[in-house]
């Protein structure tokens, strides 16, 4: 954690001479994010736990690896892909999926829990603005969890490759097939892009919506976050017999539609090209979503300012 030393050592003499009562915003955000991680240890424990369980299962499967690799020469490239690469993609999916769930549940509680246990009175007795508080809470699902998922996934994929290599070498087999089908560096790059584009930017309005509900609702944050959306879809169905809203939510959340290149379930190991990146960043849905995210967060800041303990 080097941010702290950076923030503190940012020429203290100079800043003191200017204004003895100023604390840089970066330092306030840094400590606010650390505070969130102290409180919500599941943010990193859950993906770590999922990764550990998966790794354990993978290690058990390694007993069968030498046999599989012996028969690999007869397989088509597609079957080879399934045999060798799929566990690596699956590891990434599991870690990202758990990260997504943790992020949602984190957001549901983030601005509700502090009002419920009245600790908001303590937080508000400190010189930290509502904007800084909400931003630090939004940073957990939008920045911290994607980066953590990336680090954990890369670590577990390296471990998987190392253990597979050791097993094959121990059996006197060649590792060239394994290493050519598991391009770790390229996979990591792809994963990072997927996490930043999909989990951070594409999902940002979802997290912002849930944070806003968490700042607003007195109780049952989960229901308040979900039921209005269900109600809108239901009304649309009854009134117009269409399902555009549901389809819209599905595109935001799930795998699938053409115009959403990257979501949780459609991670592709195709090489990352400028074309795919440009296509994603020219999707209107991305920018409309980000505008909504900013609006939801602005309302959340307002609510944090206005609402007291419950």
């Amino acid at each position: 954690m080097t941010t702290q030393s950076n923030a503190i050592s940012g020429s203290p003499l100079e800043s003191q001479a200017l204004a003895p009562t100023e604390i840089p915003v970066t330092r306030i955000l840094y400590w606010s994010v650390r505070r969130e991680l102290w409180e919500n240890r599941s943010v990193y424990l859950a993906p770590l736990g999922v990764a550990a369980i998966f790794l354990f299962g993978f290690l058990l499967s390694l007993f069968r690896l030498p046999g599989k690799m012996r028969g690999a020469a007869a397989l088509t490239p597609m079957q080879l892909h399934v045999l060798i690469e799929r566990p690596y993609s699956f590891a990434a999916l599991l870690v990202m999926g758990s990260g997504f769930l943790v992020a949602l549940f984190y957001c549901l509680d983030a601005l509700h829990g502090e009002r419920h246990d009245r600790s908001v009175l303590f937080w508000k007795s400190l010189p930290v603005s509502d904007l800084a508080t909400v931003l630090s809470k939004a940073a957990i699902p939008i920045v911290i969890i994607p980066l953590l998922s990336f680090a954990i996934t890369v670590a577990i994929q390296w471990l998987m490759l190392m253990f597979s290599t050791l097993v094959l070498l121990g059996n006197g087999q060649s590792i060239s097939l394994l290493w050519t089908h598991v391009p770790l560096f390229q996979m990591s790059l792809m994963l990072l892009y997927h996490l930043l584009a999909g989990h951070a930017l594409w999902y940002a309005p979802i997290y912002a919506w849930v944070l806003m509900v968490s700042a607003w609702a007195r109780r049952a944050t989960f229901l308040w976050a979900v039921l209005p959306l269900v109600a809108i879809g239901f009304l649309e169905k009854v009134a117009f017999n269409t399902a555009h809203f549901g389809a819209f939510l599905g595109r935001r959340l799930g795998p699938g539609a053409e115009d959403v290149p990257y979501t949780v379930d459609s991670i592709s190991m195709a090489p990352l090209t400028l074309h795919t990146v440009l296509r994603f960043f020219s999707t209107p849905g991305l920018w409309i979503g980000l505008i909504f995210a900013v609006a939801f967060l602005a309302v959340a800041v307002r609510l944090r300012h206005n609402r007291g303990p419950i």
Partner: protein, 294 residues
């Protein structure tokens, strides 16, 4: 310097008026006790001062508008709320880290020195501490902040007498230095009487009494009247009379009854300065629509 200045402060929750035109002025270096029955508007007034609730009227705290400038204001203001509000999941060491991280006027060494005198360990979580210890922890955090105004809302509620005594002793000996200003609300009036420099009674959202302790001592007299002189004493128009163990205790306000003086009363019985609690009962009890049950 004026620390708090309020004019015509109003706040309503639906149909109930919590603050009904409060005028308030607190100068630097005062320790003001805000005394009132439950639901009188004490906490609402404090929350307005702390920027926790919106209000109508004019309010300036250290020259700032608390509602729109809470975060800047909190560099110079500290607050301990009515119940322990420290987050229960937090470790003592984390609390120190965090406050040191975000507060420009926090002196960590000072807080640690204070905690060293208690049985609170840095690795403990707040949920593992007793209520008294949580208050001690909060006090340690607050006393290590070089603030101009400290607001205490029932800080000793639910604590046993040892902790309560300790709390006010620490506050006076280790914290208060004549430059700081303290506003405190409490039900344990007797325990703060010797601490205060000013006292204010609030009832139904209005300030009904506002007086410095020196003025209170000079102006109000409590006479435990000798049985044979009670008629003579009553003729001097006491503001309040109560019976204790068959003896009449009369309260005089020399500001209203100009002809009453101390030597005159001493001829009728024992004279002393009334306690804030007795004065409170006398003043609020004399208000027509308010039944004082406390």
């Amino acid at each position: 310097m004026t620390v708090i200045e309020a004019r015509g402060l109003r706040k309503s929750f639906g149909a109930t008026l919590a603050l009904d035109g409060v005028d308030l002025r607190v100068e630097e270096g005062r320790i003001l006790g805000l005394i009132g029955p439950n639901g009188a508007g004490k906490s609402t007034a404090l929350h307005a001062i702390l920027g926790l609730t919106p209000y109508q009227g004019e309010l300036k705290v250290l020259g700032r508008d608390p509602w729109s400038q809470r975060d800047q204001l909190m560099r110079d203001v500290c607050f301990i709320a009515d119940v322990a509000v420290l987050p229960r999941w937090m470790r003592v060491a984390h609390a120190l880290d965090y406050v040191a991280g975000v507060h420009p006027r926090f002196d960590r060494a000072k807080a640690e020195a204070f905690l060293a005198k208690t049985s609170i360990r840095p690795a403990s979580k707040v949920r593992e501490l007793s209520k008294g210890m949580v208050t001690q922890l909060h006090l340690a955090l607050v006393m290590a902040i070089d603030a101009k105004l400290l607001v205490l809302d029932e800080p000793t509620l639910g604590l046993d007498i040892l902790y309560r005594k300790q709390f006010y002793d620490s506050l006076l000996n280790d914290y208060f230095d004549g430059r700081r200003t303290i506003v405190v609300t409490t039900h344990q009036v007797e325990e703060v009487q010797h601490v205060l420099t000013d006292v204010m009674f609030i009832n139904r959202g209005r300030i009904v009494f506002n007086c410095s302790m020196e003025e209170l001592e000079a102006r109000y007299m409590e006479l435990t009247v000798r049985p044979d002189r009670s008629d003579a004493a009553r003729a001097l128009k006491p503001m309040h009379e109560r019976q204790v163990l068959g003896r009449s205790i009369l309260l005089f306000d020399s500001g209203v009854s100009q002809n009453v003086d101390r030597t005159q009363l001493q001829a009728l019985g024992d004279v002393r300065t009334p306690s804030i609690a007795d004065l409170f009962v006398a003043i609020l009890g004399s208000m027509p629509t308010q039944g004082v049950a406390q």
